[in-house]
Symmetry: C2
Subunit: 135 residues, 2 copies
Amino acid sequence: MSSLEQRCAKAGLKMTGQRRVILKVLGEASDHPSVEDVYDRAKEVDDSISIATVYRTLSLLDELDMVIRHEFQEGYSRYEVNDEHHHHLIDLDTGKVVEFQNDELEALKEKIARDLGYELIDHRLELYGKKLPKS
Amino acid sequence: MSSLEQRCAKAGLKMTGQRRVILKVLGEASDHPSVEDVYDRAKEVDDSISIATVYRTLSLLDELDMVIRHEFQEGYSRYEVNDEHHHHLIDLDTGKVVEFQNDELEALKEKIARDLGYELIDHRLELYGKKLPKS
DNA sequence: GTAGCTGCAAACTCTTTGCAACTCT
DNA sequence: AGAGTTGCAAAGAGTTTGCAGCTAC
């Protein structure tokens, strides 16, 4: 039983065949799949799965904070398993998503919110760039 | 002739009545109106304006970099006139949008992109928080 | 047994677009 | 005059939902 499945069980979700497939797809994804991507990959395992179930499952997982829903200005959502905290740099030429982490940034955003009189609950940071020539 | 109108003229756009109204609405907005908001405010001036025109005009202005299109995880877009650079903190209780600017942050994001081998073209930063009790 | 889950298709929301009429320049 | 712009209504994309049947617990 995967760690994602364990967390679902703990949340009281029924472990159906469809959910198992979707969790497997998410657990194996090293990218940031769209709903359509998850659907396509799930269908390779179980052809009868419907996209409505994929939408419903991803919404549930999002509510449980097991996945993060991204909207990279593309007009649709992408998902990733919520494990370690990080941010994204999107390559404007290739669409490739690079993950990064930066402690200074984490501290800074906390401070900014506090200075504005707010407790920071959530945030989004995305960088959009083009590859520099290697020097 | 407003500064926004001047920039439109320079870009070769025809200055129609509808566009003048939309630019006025944008120029006077101190918030971050949705398309529907802009449409409603424009209709108060010219009742015959259509929402298709509002969509088309905002898209044009976005291409010309005269406005910034935001997607604050709400399922629709909000716009603001592109004047000074700043970021947003969204109050999770009230939906209020607080603007802020931070030089340290600007420098840091440039550095992060550079360290990853990218030239920074664009970025998004949004903080989501709840008001701290005054101390 | 039953609360929860599923597939299907229809509905919904936001946005875009084809078209014929109109209007700035 | 003519390219650009408009309103309308229809179409599109992504997402959600009502329903009847099914399934994990």
